[in-house]
C-alpha cells in the first residue's frame, strides 16, 4: 500500500486489489485445492487456465458440496434432512471418492467479477452483496488481474486521509 493509493481522486478496483493472489488450475486435483484452502484458511480461490484466463472459483462451499449427499445440495433438492445420521467418516468417505478428480468438477464457473476500472463504491457494493473475495478480470482478454478481499478494502480505507 502506498500513499498514492490514498490520494487517488478516482480509485477503482485495480487500486485496492491484490495483484498476486494465490490461484488454482482447473486440472489441479481436488485434494490439492482442499490442502490449500485448509492450510491458509482461504474462503475461496480463483481458478485460472494455462493462459492466465479466469475460469472460476474453488472454495469452502465447493468442499461442503463434496462432503454432503447430492440430494441435499442439488438445485431443487431437499431443503433439509434432519433425519439423516451421517458420521464424520461418511463425510470423509464422500470427499475421498472425489479427491483425485480435477477441481473443474465442482468449481463455480459463473461468478461475479470486477473489471479493473470498476469504481470503488461499485466495488464495495459488489463485495457487500456477494460477501466474498472478488476476482478482477480484464474484460478484453479475460485474464485474472488480481483479487479484492474485505481485508484489502479495509486496509486501504483505514490508511486513507480523513
Amino acid at each position: 500500500m502506498t500513499s498514492a493509493h490514498n490520494t487517488d481522486p478516482h480509485p477503482t478496483a485495480s487500486t485496492i486489489m491484490d495483484p498476486e493472489p494465490s490461484v488454482l488450475h482447473p486440472t489441479d486435483k481436488i485434494s490439492t485445492g482442499v490442502d490449500c484452502i485448509m492450510k491458509h484458511r482461504y474462503r475461496r480461490l480463483p481458478v485460472i487456465d494455462d493462459d492466465g484466463q479466469f475460469v472460476g472459483v474453488f472454495g469452502v462451499t465447493c468442499l461442503l458440496r463434496l462432503v454432503m449427499p447430492k440430494a441435499v445440495v442439488m438445485d431443487k433438492g431437499l431443503e433439509s434432512a434432519p433425519y439423516v445420521r451421517d458420521s464424520l467418516s461418511d463425510f470423509h468417505r464422500r470427499l475421498k471418492e472425489v479427491e483425485d478428480e480435477p477441481i473443474s468438477l465442482c468449481m463455480h464457473d459463473e461468478m461475479v467479477r470486477l473489471s479493473p476500472d470498476t469504481p470503488l463504491l461499485e466495488t464495495l457494493l459488489t463485495l457487500y452483496k456477494t460477501r466474498a473475495s472478488l476476482p478482477v478480470v480484464d474484460p478484453q482478454t479475460g485474464k485474472l488481474l488480481g483479487v479484492v478481499s474485505y481485508f484489502d478494502v479495509g486496509e486501504h480505507i483505514l490508511a486513507a486521509e480523513v
Binding site: P69, K76, L78, Y83
Partner: protein, 446 residues
C-alpha cells in the same frame, strides 16, 4: 355445446378454418420444439385467435375450462403448504425402513408410495417430493439410482391414471365430460392396480435381481429417524385434515352437488386460513407469498391459452370434420374407434406433450355423435383417451412433465437418464401396458 359457429369478422377476409388450423399447428410445433416457453406460445396463439377474428374475448373466456384451472391451482396450493410439514419425506423413509432397507424392497415401496401419492396429488408434485429422497437413500445404500428413478417415473404415470386429480389429462377429461372422482377410481383403479405390479416384473428382471447393498449401507438407512422429517406437527395435522376433507369432497362431489374446482379451491382457502391463524399479518403475507410462489403459474397460463386455441379451432368446425373423418376410417365401429384412440393417444403422448393432445381430442370425441349409444356410447372412448394419454407418457423422457423432472434430478446427481437408453426399455414397457389396457377395455366395455 354448440359446434360450427359463424365466424364472420375474420381479418383480411381469411378463411377461419385455415387461419385457426394453421395457428393451431404452428402453436403445436412451437410447443414441441421447446425453443419458446409453452405458456408464452399458448398465450400468444390465444391472443392471435382473438385478434384474427376467430373468437371474441367473451367467447375466448367461455372456452377456458375454469373447473380444470381451479382444480389444478387449488391442489397446488394444498400441496405447497402440506410439503412444509415434512410428511412426504416421512412417508418415503418410513416405507424404506419397513423393508429393512433391502434395495429391491425399497424400490417396490418407493414405487408404491409414488403411485399412491400420484393418484392423490399430481405426478409432477409427487416426483418433486420423492425423487430427492430416493437419491438420498440410494447414496446411503451405495446403489445406482437409475432403476429407482425409472420405476418411479412409471409408478407416477400409472398411479396418476387412477383418479380424476392424478394426471392433468384426467382433470381435463373429467371436467369436460362431467366425470367424477369415483368414476375414474371405479373404472381405471382396477387396471392401475394390475399395471403397477406388472411394471415391477420387468424392472426386477432387468435390474432388481442384481441390486445389492452392504449391511453397513443398509444400516445407514435404518439409522434414519423418520420422525425427525416432521418439521411442523401442527401443520402436519392441519394439512392431513384438509387433504382428507378434500379427497372426501371429491368422492362425495356428486352427492353434495359441487364441482371439483370448488372443492379444491375451498380446501386451499381453508388450509391457508388455519395455517395463517397463529401468524401476525406481516407473517401471513410472507406465508401467502411463499405458498403462491410454489404454484406452477407456467402450467396454469399454458392451460388457459391452450383452451382458447382449441376452442377457436372447434368453433370453426375443424374438429368436427376431423372427428367425422376418424369415424369414416373406423367405419363407426365402437370397438375399432376405441382401440384406435387408446393406441393413437399412447404413441402421441410418448412423443409429444399429452396436454395439448388431450385438449384437442376432447372436442373431437364430443363430436363423434355418429357412434351408437349416445353419450353413454362414448364412455369407452373417454377411458381409452385417459389410459392412452396417461400411460403413453411413460414411453419416453419427454412423454410427461414428471419424467423430465426426474431426468433433471438424475442429471444434477451425476446419473443422467439418457433419452435413447430410457426409451429402449420404457417404450416397449409402455406398449405392454397399453396392450393390457386394451384387453381390459375390450372385456369391460366393448
Amino acid at each position: 355445446m354448440d359446434h360450427v359457429t359463424q365466424v364472420t369478422d375474420m381479418v383480411f377476409g381469411l378463411d377461419p378454418q385455415w387461419y385457426a388450423g394453421s395457428l393451431f399447428v404452428l402453436a403445436y410445433l412451437m410447443i414441441m420444439s421447446e425453443r419458446i416457453n409453452r405458456a408464452i406460445v399458448s398465450m400468444t396463439a390465444a391472443g392471435l385467435m382473438i385478434l384474427g377474428g376467430v373468437l371474441t374475448q367473451e367467447a375466448a373466456l367461455e372456452g377456458i375450462d375454469f373447473n380444470t384451472i381451479g382444480l389444478l391451482t387449488g391442489m397446488m396450493i394444498i400441496v405447497a403448504i402440506t410439503r412444509q410439514s415434512g410428511i412426504f419425506q416421512y412417508l418415503a423413509i418410513w416405507s424404506a425402513k419397513r423393508v429393512k432397507a433391502s434395495p429391491w424392497g425399497i424400490l417396490v415401496m418407493l414405487s408404491l408410495v409414488t403411485a399412491v401419492l400420484s393418484a392423490l396429488l399430481d405426478n409432477v408434485t409427487t416426483v418433486l417430493l420423492i425423487a430427492p429422497v430416493t437419491l438420498l437413500i440410494t447414496d446411503s445404500l451405495k446403489v445406482k439410482p437409475y432403476p429407482y428413478l425409472f420405476a418411479e417415473i412409471f409408478a407416477a404415470n400409472i398411479g396418476g391414471t387412477a383418479t380424476l386429480i392424478g394426471d392433468p389429462p384426467n382433470i381435463m377429461i373429467g371436467s369436460a365430460v362431467g366425470l367424477s372422482f369415483n368414476d375414474f377410481l371405479f373404472n381405471l383403479g382396477p387396471i392401475v392396480a394390475l399395471l403397477l405390479p406388472a411394471m415391477l416384473i420387468p424392472v426386477y428382471l432387468i435390474w432388481g435381481r442384481n441390486l445389492r447393498a452392504s449391511s453397513d449401507a443398509r444400516q445407514r438407512v435404518m439409522d434414519y429417524n423418520e420422525a425427525d422429517a416432521i418439521t411442523d406437527k401442527h401443520l402436519l395435522w392441519q394439512s392431513v385434515l384438509v387433504l382428507a376433507l378434500v379427497i372426501a369432497g371429491f368422492i362425495l362431489a356428486h352427492d353434495i352437488d359441487q364441482e371439483p374446482a370448488t372443492i379444491a379451491m375451498f380446501g386451499a382457502a381453508l388450509l391457508l386460513l388455519i395455517s395463517s391463524l397463529p401468524r401476525s399479518p406481516g407473517e401471513q403475507s410472507q406465508h401467502l407469498e411463499h405458498v403462491f410462489s410454489r404454484v406452477e403459474w407456467i402450467t396454469i397460463f399454458f392451460f388457459m391459452g391452450l383452451f382458447v386455441i382449441v376452442y377457436g379451432v372447434e368453433k370453426t368446425g375443424l374438429l368436427e370434420l376431423m372427428a367425422n373423418r376418424v369415424l369414416e376410417m373406423t367405419g363407426g365401429d365402437p370397438a375399432l374407434t376405441t382401440i384406435s384412440i387408446i393406441w393413437t393417444s399412447a404413441i402421441a403422448s410418448a412423443l409429444i406433450d399429452n396436454i395439448p393432445f388431450v385438449a384437442t381430442m376432447i372436442p373431437m370425441i364430443q363430436n363423434m355423435t355418429g357412434l351408437p349409444g349416445g353419450p353413454e356410447g362414448l364412455m369407452p372412448l373417454w377411458w381409452a383417451l385417459a389410459l392412452g394419454s396417461c400411460l403413453g407418457g411413460n414411453g419416453s423422457l419427454v412423454g410427461a412433465s414428471a419424467n423430465l423432472i426426474v431426468a433433471g434430478f438424475a442429471e444434477r446427481a451425476g446419473h443422467p437418464l439418457y433419452f435413447l437408453r430410457f426409451m429402449l426399455i420404457a417404450f416397449p414397457l409402455m406398449l405392454g401396458s397399453i396392450a393390457i389396457s386394451t384387453v381390459y377395455i375390450y372385456l369391460r366395455y366393448l
